[in-house]
């Protein structure tokens, strides 16, 4: 891609890059290795499917996995349409100094910096109490959607803006409607940004603890509906590690399962993105 390294500057640059990534990789592998080391002995198929017993010290995390998936599902279903729509609006229909656009963008930026615990309290007041949903998976998912929205919109908007104008000009010259231009030409070209947005968004959603304690709750029973309270994986890890004596081994095991789940989701997201891009490419 880039020309061969020749000068001292190039070699220095390469050395810095390689050593910093090496350091980071070492740190991450240390962290993951620590998790695996402590949690491996607890992992088994029954751990994944059975219910927690003895305050989570024994048994498994089956219902918790289901609750987490449901919360994540609600979050994504609510956040994606709104996020994509807003991003397209900001990128395609507003100029940089458009007042409404700037207002929306500014307010989303500020939203990105709100602490997770404030979101938890806000979600509790709005979804659990004002809207009457109580401690439920729905409240948790909606609260997470609010948290994840700024990330989705920011990254998606950036990727739309990065598409050079010749694509749009060609489309206009060919007489395409805006809808067709956006849907068939711009959207596929913005896939890298969309992918990053979804991965970061899902990552953020699964990593959240403080926001969920007050909204989707602590109950570790198998949820029977979206209006049931359900414990998320991150809350289970926190409770086992910080609140329950002797919960350490299962806390680490749950963390390993969470990391595994993330790997699967990220692989799936990348696969979908690739398929979408190749489906839309014209044969050369």
């Amino acid at each position: 891609m880039l020309p061969q390294s020749k000068s001292v500057q190039d070699h220095c640059g390469a050395a810095i890059i390689w050593s910093s990534t090496g350091l980071i990789s070492f740190g991450v592998l240390w962290l993951l290795g620590d998790l695996l080391w402590h949690g491996w002995s607890q992992l088994s198929w029954s751990f994944l499917f059975s219910s927690p017993e003895n305050a989570g010290r024994e048994g498994g995390i089956g219902p918790i996995l289901i609750s987490t998936s449901l919360i994540l599902g609600v979050c994504m279903i609510v956040a994606w349409p709104m996020g994509l729509g807003t991003a397209i609006f900001l990128a395609e229909f507003t100029q940089d100094d458009h007042r409404f656009g700037r207002l929306i963008r500014g307010s989303l930026d500020v939203l990105a910096g709100v602490p997770s615990i404030v979101f938890g309290l806000f979600g509790n007041a709005l979804f659990c109490q004002a809207l009457g949903l109580g401690f439920s998976i729905l409240s948790g998912g909606l609260t997470l959607a609010c948290m994840v929205l700024p990330i989705l919109i920011r990254t998606t908007e950036e990727s739309f803006r990065a598409i050079t104008s010749d694509q749009r000009l060609s489309a206009a010259a060919l007489g395409f409607s805006t809808s067709t231009t956006v849907g068939s030409i711009l959207l596929p070209a913005a896939i890298p940004g969309l992918l990053v947005g979804s991965i970061l968004g899902i990552g953020r959603a699964m990593a959240e603890t403080a926001a969920l304690i007050f909204t989707s709750g602590y109950v570790d029973r198998m949820p029977e509906s979206l209006l049931d309270s359900g414990r998320a994986l991150s809350i289970h890890i926190y409770d086992l590690a910080m609140n329950v004596a002797g919960g350490n081994p299962n806390a680490y095991a749950t963390a390993v399962v969470l990391v595994g789940l993330l790997i699967i989701i990220n692989l799936a997201a990348s696969w979908i993105a690739e398929k979408w891009t190749t489906l839309n490419q014209l044969p050369t």
Binding site: P81, F214, L227, A245
Partner: protein, 274 residues
């Protein structure tokens, strides 16, 4: 665009259908909402599960949020029962409290610390910053790392009450939230001192966590001494309700105080009622 629109509409449709069907399907067949102390939540959660298996069709939902939240939610009617990890204060006596177990508070040190006992006066001096080095109390020449609990926690209030201190007088180096955070902090620092729940500490000390429990006024800190009342620092774990409990709430509270749950209380390293 059509493909995207289709997906979006399907998603929205599915979502709406799920929500509405579930709203219709949800029937209340005896549901209790219990909120409050995170110390008590695992125990009450386990009691709830056993209660549900003995009374099919009931649902006991336990949420955390702290003792004050337990009180506030009970007063507001957001919760049927509140969990409070202390005795009720005078201003809370309009509520009805029922103790279900006892818990003690012990001072802990790192296992490698040669100091084996401290007097009340020494502990007080360490916490106010008058003693700053372990050698003053017979230990190694190293600065003491004082671990205190965050304000508002019932453990802290009991500690302050027993040692007759005000929180502002304490010079702490680390402030922790939950019990296990305290234990992990002290286990990672050979020159730290702190205080946590007796049951938690006893469990961890016997499971290869490098901590040691200190005796208080020469009385060893064990679940047995808390049980027979000789250990000076203990607190009741209380379930509170707004009015004298009736119906399902009453059944549940009585169940929690009965001997049917003594094994659950032991498993969580608390002390059952005599």
């Amino acid at each position: 665009m059509t493909r995207f629109k289709l997906v979006a509409w399907l998603g929205a449709f599915f979502f709406i259908v799920t929500v509405f069907s579930q709203t219709l399907a949800m029937g209340t067949q005896g549901k209790l909402v219990i909120t409050g102390s995170s110390t008590m939540a695992p125990l009450v959660s386990e009691i709830g599960k056993r209660f549900e298996s003995l009374h099919p069709g009931t649902r006991i939902d336990v949420q955390t949020g702290g003792s004050s939240r337990g009180i506030a939610d009970t007063v507001n009617g957001l919760a049927d029962i509140g969990m409070v990890s202390r005795a009720l204060k005078p201003q809370e006596h309009s509520l009805h409290g029922a103790a279900i177990a006892h818990d003690g508070i012990t001072m802990i040190l790192h296992q490698d610390n040669p100091v084996h006992e401290l007097t009340d006066k020494q502990i007080k001096a360490i916490y106010t910053g008058d003693i700053t080095n372990w050698k003053t109390v017979g230990g190694p020449d190293a600065p003491i790392t004082v671990v205190n609990k965050a304000e508002g926690r019932s453990t802290l209030e009991l500690f302050l009450q027993y040692f007759q201190l005000s929180n502002r007088a304490i010079r702490a180096h680390v402030i922790i939230g939950d019990n296990e955070q305290g234990i992990k902090t002290i286990a990672g620092n050979p020159h730290a001192i702190g205080y946590v729940s007796v049951g938690t500490a006893q469990y961890d000390a016997t499971h290869e966590v490098p901590i040691r429990l200190l005796a208080l006024q020469h009385i060893p800190a064990t679940l047995e001494t808390v049980q027979n009342g000789t250990f000076p620092l203990s607190r009741p774990l209380t379930l509170v309700s707004k009015t004298p409990p009736t119906g399902l709430a009453q059944t549940f509270i009585e169940f929690s105080r009965s001997s049917a749950v003594h094994d659950l209380i032991h498993k969580q390293y608390f002390v059952p009622l005599p």
